[in-house]
């Protein structure tokens, strides 16, 4: 038995490190769980991308759930996510609102002209100050906000068809079921 002790200790360490590796592959290490989840979305008042003189506030969007998608023309991952969003947007059951983050409006418009515009509404945060209130630290990030203005789900990084099917759609379904 004594002879086996070091081996058992070694195997325990192997199991521990193996678990660590498995755990890290299951979780996105760069994703910070948002403290805003299930809390009211922060108040905002931002200009529309295409009509900068018109402003949109959180209050204006109450009453209908929406998916707020933070994107920018400088963001490479957004280009990866864009076809997925474009394909899924009509089937989501919620409005897709584009949040143009720290972007020159002309660059954003050119990018949308090139890649297509799946958004029902586009708001622009060029200085990026409102994004701090949302806890945004990069793009893309997406927030599912219900009719009462509560953040129900947040995804950090690009939406893939997998994530849409396994996370976004169930979250939307739960939200819509509760609203009924």
């Amino acid at each position: 038995m004594n002879r086996l002790l070091p081996f058992i200790g070694f195997m325990l360490l192997v199991a521990l490190f193996g678990f660590g590796i498995w755990w890290n592959t299951q979780h996105d290490q760069s994703a910070i769980p948002s403290p805003l989840l299930n809390k009211p979305a922060p108040a905002f008042n931002l200009p529309k991308l295409y009509e900068p003189t018109q402003r949109v506030s959180k209050h204006d969007l109450l009453g209908k759930p929406y998916l707020l998608n933070v994107f920018a023309s400088w963001c490479i991952e957004c280009g990866v996510e864009h076809p997925v969003l474009t394909a899924e947007a009509p089937h989501l059951g919620v409005q897709l609102v584009g949040y143009n983050y720290k972007d020159a409006p002309d660059d954003a418009k050119r990018w949308l002209a090139q890649h297509g515009n799946p958004y029902a509404l586009l708001i622009a945060d060029e200085p990026g100050n409102t994004a701090i209130d949302f806890g945004v630290y990069g793009a893309p990030e997406s927030f599912l906000i219900d009719a009462k203005g509560i953040i129900r789900y947040k995804h950090i990084g690009p939406f893939t068809p997998d994530v849409v099917a396994s996370e976004l759609k169930p979250a939307i379904a739960t939200m819509l079921k509760e609203a009924r």
Binding site: N2, R3, P6, Q29, S30, I32, P33, S34, P35, L36, K102, G128, N129, A131, I132, D133, F134, G135, V136, Y137, G138
Partner: protein, 179 residues
């Protein structure tokens, strides 16, 4: 860069004082002209430094440096807000600066960031249900190690006291201590 500039300003001032003390007008004027050039140049240096901020005084700058070194950049999580070049780190540094100008305390600023980015932004995580293992894990490992050492010592004592025991005769070559 910051260090270089930080040092160049007092240095220029010393020169100026020296020139005035000697009271040599012509040379003083020359020195003043030289200083004017140097000052213009230092302005250039300042512009090249990474985002100089208009601090009210040196104490405030030190406070800012201290605070931003205690906060973690959410984007590149192994860098402090002070060190990171990520756009979000720059924005958050500006936000910290703005809040300092508004007279908010360090705790208020940290609270503001934690509300938005969770405890991840703190390099010194608070003691919560989720972090007790982080705080006391090392102590647990130390205690476990002490337990193992204690057990081994006790066993050795027992073995030492009972070398003439019949049980030891059953182990002809290996006394269990060879590893």
């Amino acid at each position: 860069m910051r260090l270089l500039f930080g040092r160049s300003a007092p240095c220029a001032r010393t020169l100026f004082v020296l020139a005035n003390k000697q009271g040599i007008r012509a040379q003083g004027a020359l020195l003043q002209a030289l200083l004017a050039v140097l000052l213009a140049f230092s302005g250039l240096l300042h512009a090249q430094a990474i985002e100089p901020m208009p601090f009210a005084n040196h104490a405030q700058e030190l406070r800012f440096q201290h605070l931003t070194h205690e906060l973690r950049c959410p984007m590149c999580q192994n860098e402090t807000l002070a060190d990171s070049n990520a756009p979000i780190a720059r924005d958050l540094r500006n936000q910290v600066f703005r809040m300092m100008q508004q007279g908010r305390s360090d705790d208020e600023i940290k609270h503001y960031l934690v509300d938005r980015y969770s405890n991840y932004v703190l390099y010194d995580p608070p003691l919560t249900a989720g972090t007790w293992l982080l705080w006391f894990g090392p102590l647990l490992i130390l205690l476990a190690g002490a337990g193992v050492v204690l057990m081994a010592l006790r066993k050795r004592q027992r073995n030492g006291a009972g070398t003439t025991d019949a049980s030891m005769d059953n182990v002809p070559t290996d006394n269990g201590d060879d590893w």
